[in-house]
């Protein structure tokens, strides 16, 4: 169903860029740091998000959820608010552990940080703060033209002793704005697993950061193994005002389903 759209995006983002001028390591690292910094906030972060999952021979799944972040303490929480059957389910990161909560059973389960969110093809990393410079080492892989955008591509390989879901990712940045436009994630075997497109970026002034915080308005994720599956993540109503102090606790998440 999404194939024409995908083809359109791929066509629009057609290749044939100008001759590539390799970037230095410092320049590449600076781009990654800039991307991380743009999306981080020294204060709190709250967003209303929607996930739409399309799978072959299955009904489309749409979920509404609230994303909470306190980047300074690396705190992170997701709370599903719709549909009714999923209401109250959530994820909470405490220290280095990601916990999932199901109000149906009242049980908390320690999950891997790489788990799919709510059974969709979206990951915790799609909602969390960006740590590209911290986790990966970049290699320049050329200039490309993605549709009307002049871009450059960085091939990122995970640093040793860092655990991530995808040990290799490729990123395409807009040359003029340094906005991330496309991301491809590869398995350990080198197989392409996911391609994500970031067609819209927005910014919001953060009084705590005294600068803008950037966030993708939408992410279109295509499953490259099961080609018929895709996920759309929409971010609405981002709020950077301070959150309650005791928000990032199991008790708070549990209270939302009582």
């Amino acid at each position: 169903m999404h194939r024409p759209l995908r083809l359109l995006i791929v066509t629009l983002l057609a290749l044939h860029g100008t001759a590539a001028v390799a970037m230095s390591s410092e320049e590449m690292l600076s781009v990654l740091k800039e991307t991380d910094l743009r999306q981080s906030n020294t204060g709190d972060y709250k967003a209303l998000a929607y996930i739409e999952q399309k799978e072959k021979e299955k009904a489309d799944i749409v979920r509404e959820l609230l994303v909470y972040r306190r980047d300074v303490d690396e705190k992170f929480m997701l709370l599903t608010t719709k549909p009714k059957s999923e209401e109250g389910k959530g994820y909470l990161r405490l220290d280095k552990n990601l916990w999932s909560y199901d109000p149906g059973t009242g049980k908390w389960e320690r999950t891997t940080d790489r788990e799919r969110i709510g059974g969709t093809n979206s990951r915790r990393s799609d909602f969390d703060q960006s740590r590209l410079a911290e986790e990966y080492t970049p290699v320049f892989c050329g200039d490309e033209k993605l549709g009307r955008f002049e871009t450059f591509c960085l091939d990122l390989h995970v640093k040793s002793s860092v655990d991530v879901a995808y040990p290799q990712i490729k990123l395409w940045f807009d040359k003029s704005t340094h906005n991330l436009l496309k991301r491809q994630e590869f398995a350990l075997s080198g197989r392409l697993m996911r391609t994500a497109y970031y067609p819209k970026w927005e910014k919001l002034y953060s009084s705590s950061k005294k600068a803008d915080v950037w966030f993708p308005k939408e992410i279109r994720i295509f499953d490259e193994v099961e080609r018929s599956n895709s996920t759309l993540v929409l971010f609405k109503a981002v709020d950077l005002s301070p959150l309650e102090g005791n928000l990032f606790t199991k008790a708070w998440l549990e209270s939302k389903s009582r």
């Binding site: 072959k56 280095k96 552990n97 990601l98 389960e109 320690r110 999950t111 891997t112 940080d113 790489r114 655990d163 991530v164 879901a165 995808y166 040990p167 398995a187 350990l188 075997s189 197989r191 697993m193 193994v225 099961e226």
Partner: protein, 437 residues
């Protein structure tokens, strides 16, 4: 005249023959109940047999030395590291083991061109797998192909769902113990006949394939499976293995009679890292299907009890009517000198004869029907497969169950006859002779 007197039996038999229709009806009912008992017992036995066969072929040895390796507090993998030393210890200290196999354990997404499925994957060395070769029936392909290439053995239902045949490629996706996504392209080398519930989620690849998928070194495996010479020794040998491992410095998990994949949550909550071993037996590994065994056992007992109560009430009533009809005859027999005990034994003999003839006919009918059903290889619908653990209807009554049915039904009928027989024996000759019924 006593209970064993041939004349007593002769009278009883003649009385039964005199009331042919009534006797035939009672014998038919008793035979039907006995046959049903034999059939139900056959279904139960076949179910247990299939479960044992499937469990010890697909999922488990008679005894398993498995365990978990935790790279961090929240990440555990079903691994046994440095397994060669443990295998050597078992070979040296556990002579009860007939043969030992090692298997990799995993859970992965298998993706074909058209579909995908979340399935368990076992990494096997096909040369070690004596039982596997004997039990698993191939519909297509060859198991030996697992040795030469990155192959996968699927069961019929899985192959149907993934729409693949021998020679097709599928992609196996799984995260490594460190949580990094990995994939492997493998070829379907064989498709095996379904083996009920347990074959629904088990697939087989080579140990090398599973090591590459999970990025494991050659000294790691998923589980060491011991197949014993004598299965009755399981609990004794299990304790012996446990003690032997502790004595050799291995850390063991607390005894938990559940399948390994049900323990992830418990293990992930525990505050330890590194290796802990877990010793289980085949029943522990298939404990998640115990509900089906319990359910069938309960239903079987309930049906038998209800039927036995019903025929007991029926027999009791029929005998009471017979005694009423024969009150004057009893009076006459008593008047010519027949002892009360003899009257009692005469009627008891009738009950016993009814029971014995009915149960023998029932057993013959039950066994014949059971073998006919099994020989017909009737395919079961998916829902029934989940409960009966088999893809075909099998009814396999054992000698033990047949003997039990014979003794239980005959004994119950004889016991039920005791009440009316005692009432008959207590009748006074004068009262009985003057009875007008």
């Amino acid at each position: 005249m006593n209970l064993l007197s041939p004349i007593n039996w002769l009278i009883a038999a003649r009385n039964l023959l005199q009331h042919r229709l009534r006797s035939a009806l009672l014998v038919a009912i008793i035979a039907a109940v006995t046959a049903l008992m034999v059939l139900l017992a056959g279904v139960f036995t076949a179910m247990e047999g299939t479960l044992l066969r499937a469990a010890t072929t697909l999922m488990s040895g008679d005894i398993n030395v498995g365990g978990f390796y935790k790279t961090s507090l929240s990440q555990s993998a079903p691994l046994v590291t440095n397994y060669e030393r443990i295998v050597a210890l078992i070979k040296e200290k556990i002579p009860e083991a007939s043969y030992i196999v090692t298997r990799g354990r995993g859970w992965a997404k298998i993706v074909s061109e058209t579909n995908s499925a979340q399935l368990g994957i076992s990494g096997i060395d096909i040369d070690q797998e004596v039982g596997f070769r004997k039990i698993v029936q191939l519909r297509a392909g060859a198991l030996d192909a697992l040795k030469s290439k990155s192959g996968i053995v699927l069961f019929e239902t899985q192959a149907k769902k993934l729409a693949v045949k021998v020679g097709d490629r599928v992609t196996v996706l799984a995260p490594t113990p460190r949580g990094v996504n990995n994939t492997l392209d493998v070829t379907v080398v064989a498709i095996a006949a379904d083996m009920g519930l347990l074959s629904a989620w088990n697939t087989f690849v080579s140990e090398d394939t599973i090591r590459r998928l999970y990025q494991l070194n050659d000294s790691s495996t998923g589980v060491i499976q011991l197949h014993l010479k004598d299965r009755t020794q399981i609990s004794l040998v299990e304790d012996k293995v446990r003690n032997m491992l502790v004595a050799n410095g291995y850390l063991l998990m607390d005894q938990d009679p559940r399948s390994f994949f049900m323990k992830f949550d418990t293990v992930n909550r525990q505050a330890w890292t590194g290796q802990k071993l877990d010793v289980t037996n085949w029943k522990d590994e298939v404990s998640f299907v115990n509900w089906a065994i319990t359910l069938i056992g309960f239903a079987f007992t309930l049906v038998v009890l209800i039927l036995v109560v019903l025929i007991s009430v029926g027999i009791s009533n029929v005998m009471a009517i017979a005694i009423r009809e024969r009150t004057r005859e009893i009076g006459t027999l008593r008047a010519v000198g027949m002892q009360r005990r003899t009257v009692l034994s005469m009627f008891l003999s009738e009950g016993f004869l009814l029971g014995a003839v009915g149960t023998i006919l029932g057993v013959l009918a039950g066994v014949t029907i059971a073998y006919a059903i099994t020989a017909a290889r009737i395919p079961l619908p998916e829902g029934a497969q989940l409960i009966l653990m088999s893809s075909r209807l099998e009814v396999l009554p054992t000698r033990g169950w047949i003997l039990f049915a014979l003794l239980f039904v005959t004994g119950t009928i004889t016991l039920v006859s005791l009440g009316p027989s005692r009432r008959a024996a207590r009748l006074k000759p004068v009262t009985a002779m003057s009875h007008l019924g």
